[in-house]
Symmetry: C2
Subunit: 375 residues, 2 copies
């Protein structure tokens, strides 16, 4: 923070606040109340939060917890926040005085400020000499490197989801509506020990699927379909994020071929991923395998993988132009995908952690040939 | 919009975009990409979205869909957004020209702008004469009144969750760890037909619970505990939000008494909720029942209910000072709670819809006496 010229960080989102504090709760689902964590340079974090969160925050390592009864129609926390920022500035841990306090807020790709815009403007007006700086580069660099304990949590949820995927041929069959297949898979993930199936998308289509982010349609799975499920299950606040494909009975050879290409692209990615390799290089490595077979590279996803942790998708992206180099402790998805025919996409995904000299799979490796669910 | 002096709405969040478009996807879990919906006064909505969402958006009633390949390290959508806003302004559906375009963005309580702050500032700079106005009052008024089809979806998920709650004594017992009770309840909700258990919190403590938003601790349920579970399950993109309490075997009489008080407070709320009654009046009605028994009203929650729909919690709040009047079609929670002893809170919750002459329960009414799970 000193190097970046930031006197304090102002954090407002679930992942940023949890990363510094350990504050874990499902209550973020409610958009009603703002939550704030202040991280002073050279000082301990201060939580400025609604009263309803006081007990939960007190279970973390944060000792300085300031609360207000929220919702408050007149001042929903900004007054207390301003007062706290001024107090921090007055301690002399800052480079300057209140008038020139330099406040780091994540402003870069993939971020947002989780407070009402009118309140953010009120906050800025109350700190007229404040300098607002983008804390995204600092936070991205910090959060990208996972500790052994973080990696263990991600490994745990990857393995539980892997077991659920392995069981899929036993719980899904032709004739089952896609929404029922989603439900059966979700239940199996819970039975395998995940805390929550926070993300599940998928698709099925004759000879291949197109759009994988639409919700299930109610259509029945049929012989000849290619089915994909892509899940972000959670354990103790950490995500996995990977997918699996299946053939329902006999499917077109083109789908089998496309599966093999995506599997080989993933193999190339696994072989190449190591410290020092840049994200654009790893992207290119996988892309080279798919390009001869693709009518459209990346399958509309725009990238071939990304960071993974407290969020389903984190920086950096594996894509052209992204020059961030891999470092040990980064947890990443490898997610090569391509359109192999008009309206037909094949996407594979695995989760890995970068080690000192390569990478290690966290998910159980997908089968090299498209698995078939009997009909 | 004409009345409010707004030429177009700029929407960035899941619920706002879905309310106007019908765009339903789990993909919002990924924070990587921004999504935009523009709603011109007198014109049809225009989606400005990442390519990955094009097929899903094309299934909605939105016909004008503009996409860019996201993520894009140089321009992640703002260029296309600016171009589209300028085009709308040029159509002459606006009151003025591009230089004075009046852009409505939700800025009020419970909202945020879901795009990077740096990009929002770039957008503002690209529209130098733009007037930015708070669209929250308009959107809150629109979204608060649910259609019959919306009410049917919420009723469906309320009844499924009611059946899961009713089954709890059969699936939970003393000796079971709280995290396993959460998991068993989640699975039961799915078996009863919900699409997703997007929100589940709860607590158990000897003679009463304190903090209901912390995650399960791993502690085993024991005779003498009061257990609460509070869930926001989903069906077709709509939430329920209510809780239930149980005694594990014999518990202190104080907990039974507190349960009865909260139940009577809910009864008073059910009897009072009708069109024309203000939120602060309904709050006071429930508060009067609890006040003689409370060492701390509202149990730290800060209110006794709220709107419900595409979000777990929506405006308006049932609280002092909230003068919004109930109207037919509003779906609300009644959520009276109070501390009946130091560190012991009792919270009840039901979901209702305001009708022409009163209200109708959407959740199955809780039992008038604290249900006991045998040990």
């Amino acid at each position: 923070m000193a190097r970046d010229g930031v006197d304090l960080l102002l954090l407002t989102t679930e992942a940023d606040i949890r990363w510094f504090s350990g504050f874990l709760t499902a209550f973020w689902q409610s958009p009603t109340r703002p939550w704030f964590l202040l991280v002073p340079a050279g000082g301990l974090p201060i939580a400025v939060i609604p009263t309803i969160g006081e007990t939960c925050m007190a279970r973390t390592w944060v000792r300085d917890i300031r609360t207000w009864s929220s919702p408050d129609l007149v001042d929903d926390g900004v007054g207390l926040l301003v007062e706290t920022i001024r107090e921090i500035a007055g301690r002399g841990v800052m480079s300057g005085n209140v008038g020139s306090v330099r406040i780091g807020v994540p402003m870069g790709a993939g971020t947002h400020v989780r407070m009402p815009l009118a309140e953010l403007e009120r906050l800025r007006a109350a700190l007229p000499g404040g300098e607002w700086r983008d804390a995204s580069p600092t936070l991205n660099a910090l959060r990208a490197i996972k500790s052994e304990r973080e990696i263990a949590k991600i490994r745990h949820v990857c393995l539980a989801a892997s077991r659920a995927f392995a069981a899929l041929p036993d719980i899904v069959a032709a004739g089952m509506r896609d929404i029922e297949a989603f439900r059966a898979f979700t239940i199996r993930c819970l039975e395998e020990g995940v805390d929550d199936v926070a993300y599940l998308v998928g698709a099925a289509g004759r000879g291949g699927y197109d759009d994988i982010i639409s919700p299930p349609s109610g259509r029945a799975l049929a012989a000849g379909d290619v089915l994909i499920l892509d899940t972000g299950c959670m354990h103790d606040g950490y995500f996995c994020d990977f997918d699996r494909n299946w053939a329902i009975g006999a499917v077109d050879a083109a789908a089998h071929d496309a599966y093999r290409v995506a599997w080989e692209a993933t193999e190339a990615g696994l072989a190449a991923a190591r410290p020092g390799v840049r994200c654009d290089e790893l992207f290119a490595t996988m892309d080279r395998v798919m390009a001869p077979h693709a009518i459209d590279a990346s399958g509309g996803v725009g990238r071939s993988g990304h960071g993974l942790g407290m969020q389903l998708t984190e920086p950096p992206s594996l894509m052209a132009g992204e020059r961030t180099a891999l470092r040990p402790g980064m947890v990443m998805t490898l997610e090569p995908g391509f359109a192999f025919a008009p309206g037909k996409v094949m996407v594979h995904e695995e989760n890995i952690v970068i080690t000192e000299d390569g990478c290690e799979l966290l998910s159980e490796r997908a089968a090299p040939e498209l698995p078939v669910i009997g009909v």
